[in-house]
Symmetry: C2
Subunit: 241 residues, 2 copies
């Protein structure tokens, strides 16, 4: 297969750059490593019935109230948001707690990006926790791919881009990649030497969340393949098939 016959793979470094990419018919991987997409992946692998991502605390409360037995969750400034029950840590959703429940989760960056995508074939949820599962999905579907970094309030961040680089490292042979954002992601992956959490300790988000004592949480989020599932958006719900 020549390069031109391969499907295209690109990386969008921030939601503020999303308009530069054509997502029609493509698989879009939403990436919000610290911590939305990590938490969604963990909760679903631990048996959650589905995750409903919402933008605001108000919406989270309203949807939670309409679904019996659902869990409302989300943080603002590192604490459980007023009116919600749980936070945005993968460790809060072990199987014995989350199994068969609906998790209504409000996050800022990841949810916003997810709701901005138009016309995609599939919107799937990527994190180090399901790295290989995501790569297998992309390799088997043979469609154009946009790796979408949720970033932090539209600012480029290292952790989401590093994950994009980890994906590219595994699947580059099967895609046509001519995108400097993909190249920089790959360079970050190479620079990390595979020590993701060590590499990410010098990142803005790590420093921000460390203030709240979330180092163990972040180390968990940077561990590959603990939850080998592919969460996919179906209507308003994120599910595993």
């Amino acid at each position: 297969m020549t390069n031109k016959e391969k499907p295209r793979m690109e990386v969008c470094l921030s939601p503020a750059l999303l308009h530069l990419y054509d997502t029609r018919g493509a698989i879009v991987v939403i990436i919000d490593i610290f911590r939305a997409t990590s938490t969604i992946t963990a909760a679903l692998d631990n048996g959650a019935k589905c995750v409903i991502p919402v933008a605001s605390v108000e919406e989270c409360i309203a949807i939670g109230a309409s679904i019996p037995g659902s869990i409302t969750a989300g943080e603002r400034d590192g604490k459980v948001a007023d009116g919600l029950e749980y936070g945005n840590s993968p460790g809060e959703y072990p199987r014995e707690f989350i199994k068969d429940k609906t998790l209504v989760l409000t996050t800022t960056n990841g949810t916003r990006l997810l709701h901005m995508i138009n016309g995609a074939s599939d919107i799937i949820i990527g994190s180090f926790l399901n790295l290989d599962a995501i790569c297998s999905y992309l390799l088997s579907h043979k469609k154009s791919v946009l790796l979408g970094c949720a970033s932090w309030k539209d600012r480029f961040n290292l952790e989401d881009t590093l994950f994009a680089g980890a994906v590219i490292n595994e699947v580059a042979h099967a895609f046509d990649i001519n995108c400097d954002s993909a190249r920089v992601a790959r360079h970050l992956f190479d620079s990390s030497g595979g020590d993701f959490i060590g590499f990410l300790k010098d990142s803005s988000h790590y420093k921000r969340l460390s203030v709240y004592g979330l180092e163990k949480d972040m180390a968990y989020c940077a561990t590959p393949n603990l939850h080998p599932v592919v969460p996919i958006l179906s209507g308003r719900e994120i599910v595993i098939r």
Copy 2:
């Protein structure tokens, strides 16, 4: 000096992200390595009276017509634009040609970014050709700095970010840097091992311009310190003081 007492240094990876940064009172370095800021730097060091950056071919022709003896220049799709006289290559502006002349230059990415900056203390023009001169300027002025990558039609590019990394490599000790865009720029610089043009051969813009046979031009643009001047915007003109 503690970190908090140092002036802030940040990197803006694309004009589409400029709204995230506060440029009031800051020094903004405009970076458009291939090739606007390289050409501006070379022309001024070679004796040009000033460079007037303009957004459109029409504006270039109109301003050129109003200034006796001026040169109108700019490219579209790798060729001198219709109605203009010269291109966007530093090699076109040797001293014997450009000395004491006004260069009216239309470029897309660099000019657009330059005109988007509001309230900056100084807007200066950075390229590998004047790397050390830019670093000396930043170190001596002790103000907040935004390294502004012109990018390519708002898309992240390697060459501008690599230059930002080269600056950071020289001046980081004197600035408070807590910005993942600055960190990724520094990682790119480290990855390049100092072989800038070798590193940039795997970039979208290099591949695009190679189609027009501009490899030598780009190698020139990636050579440090051939033109050790600091071009600065003064009104509508870019000059050296």
